[in-house]
């Protein structure tokens, strides 16, 4: 093992951290629930399902990402509202989280079953996807992540003030002539696409999207400004994941590198428990 970590790997870790942080902030503000995150809304499950489809059908990840972007766009933006749209807008957020967690569990069970069967027949299986890491990152992944980063960042930069007011409340933003419904759809779509891109190329980092926004809000200036949270948060989140991944690389355990995603599965689950047990948590439907 080299003592020097690759630059593409570092960059991918940065972008993945930035995307997960942004996805967490966007899902929490759009559903007005501090427990909302890609991991609790079933988006992780959707991404893993995508990886399995890519693997079994031999489809390149990029095409699947395009297909998923199109599908998500259709779900949220068509006038003829689909059932998935109604689920997201018609039921309370705690129920959405329960549905999301259940969906993740279902995908996890399917994943384990397929893994068992493939191993029994001595066939290849993308086992490492469940715990994200940046060991096998390639140039296509970096290119897609860079492109998505600039697209997402240009949206945030353009709409920073609107997002700030939207964070105060849907109706409140509406009163200031801001189309809350449109902003909500846009940021939910962006959160889904960014998170799925991370899963397709780097794997699952469970609960990182939940953990990072809460850690950021411990910084006083960020806790008072959603605009700063979405502008600075991705950079801090990216640097954080880059640091954790570098530590995993530099300090292997018995010669084996611990996937960063495995660390966050443990830390994130603890964070979710702490949040649930925290008495003064406000959940708004």
């Amino acid at each position: 093992m080299d003592d020097v970590i690759d630059l593409p790997r570092l960059l991918c870790a940065f972008f993945a951290g930035a995307f997960l942080c942004l996805s967490g902030s966007f899902t929490q503000v759009s559903l007005r629930n501090p427990l909302a995150a890609p991991s609790t809304l079933g988006i992780d499950g959707l991404g893993v399902l995508g990886v399995l489809i890519c693997f079994f059908l031999g489809i390149p990840s990029f095409y699947l990402l395009l297909f998923l972007c199109g599908s998500i766009g259709l779900v949220f933006f068509t006038k003829n509202k689909t059932r998935a749209y109604k689920v997201y807008y018609g039921v309370n957020t705690n129920r959405i989280i329960l549905i999301g967690l259940s969906f993740n569990l279902l995908v996890g069970a399917i994943f384990s079953l397929l893994q068992f069967l493939m191993m029994a027949f001595n066939l290849d299986f993308p086992s490492s996807i469940w715990f994200g890491n940046f060991k096998f990152i390639h140039s296509e992944a970096l290119l897609v992540l860079v492109l998505l980063f600039f697209l997402a960042f240009s949206f945030i930069y353009k709409n920073a003030e609107k997002l700030e007011v939207f964070s105060f409340g849907d109706q409140f933003a509406q009163n200031l002539n801001i189309d809350s419904e449109q902003i909500k759809k846009m940021i939910l779509c962006i959160a889904c696409v960014l998170n799925i891109a991370v899963i397709l190329y780097c794997g699952v980092f469970s609960f990182l999207g939940l953990l990072l926004p809460h850690l950021l809000r411990l910084i006083p200036c960020i806790s008072k400004s959603f605009k700063l949270e979405v502008l600075l948060g991705p950079i801090i989140g990216g640097a954080f994941l880059m640091l954790i991944d570098s530590l995993c690389y530099l300090f292997p355990v018995y010669g084996a590198e611990i996937p960063a995603g495995m660390i966050f599965s443990v830390l994130g689950a603890i964070a979710l428990l702490v949040l649930l047990l925290k008495q003064n948590i406000t959940i708004n439907d």
Partner: protein, 192 residues
């Protein structure tokens, strides 16, 4: 115009006429629970995209104000100065009344305090027309009396407004009535 939920229509094919030239054009909306009074207000605002008949509308809804993060009323007022606002002359009096908790995190306020903060923000942003959906909810007797005076001043400013309220509303100004009936799917506007 129609309001639709996943399974049923609340209000369908309705027509109504408001006389905006009346001096007291505040309408008190009546109707049984679930008849669609609040939905009616939202429909009017959503269809007009903040401007109703060319005038700026402010809809005070029933939901608790819950900004993400540790914002206080003072923080919000500071941030709102970047946006288009037309502060009502009633704002300063209202702000002085709630000054004690203007620097406390909004998420930590009680239901009544939160409602007062919402009304304060409404008066800061200001509008030509006010749509108030149960503005007295959670308020104690003193604050209710104070808010009644504020609404009375709003009506005397010749503003058009719609008010959903169940309790007996003592207002010296004449309030027109508007009935929303679920079974008949219609809205009736009565003057006086």
């Amino acid at each position: 115009m129609k309001i639709q939920t996943a399974n049923e229509f609340f209000i369908k094919d309705i027509s109504f006429k408001f006389d905006l030239n009346l001096k007291d054009s505040f309408y008190l909306i009546h109707g049984e629970n679930g008849s669609g009074k609040s939905s009616f207000l939202r429909l009017l605002q959503q269809n007009s995209k903040t401007y109703f008949m060319g005038k700026k509308v402010y809809l005070l809804d029933q939901k608790r104000l819950s900004p993400l993060g540790a914002h206080t009323l003072d923080d919000l007022l500071k941030k709102l100065k970047k946006f288009e606002y037309k502060q009502s002359p009633l704002f300063k009096d209202f702000y002085l009344r709630i000054k004690d908790y203007a620097d406390i995190e909004i998420t930590k306020l009680s239901g009544g305090q939160n409602q007062m903060v919402k009304i304060c923000l409404m008066l800061f942003i200001g509008a030509d027309y006010y749509f108030l959906d149960e503005p007295f909810q959670y308020l104690d007797k003193n604050n209710s009396v104070f808010l009644e005076q504020i609404i009375e001043k709003l009506t005397s400013e010749n503003n058009f407004g719609l008010l959903v309220e169940h309790r007996k509303f003592d207002c010296n100004h004449r309030l027109n009535s508007l009935f929303v009936e679920k079974s008949l799917n219609h809205i009736e506007v009565c003057n006086g």
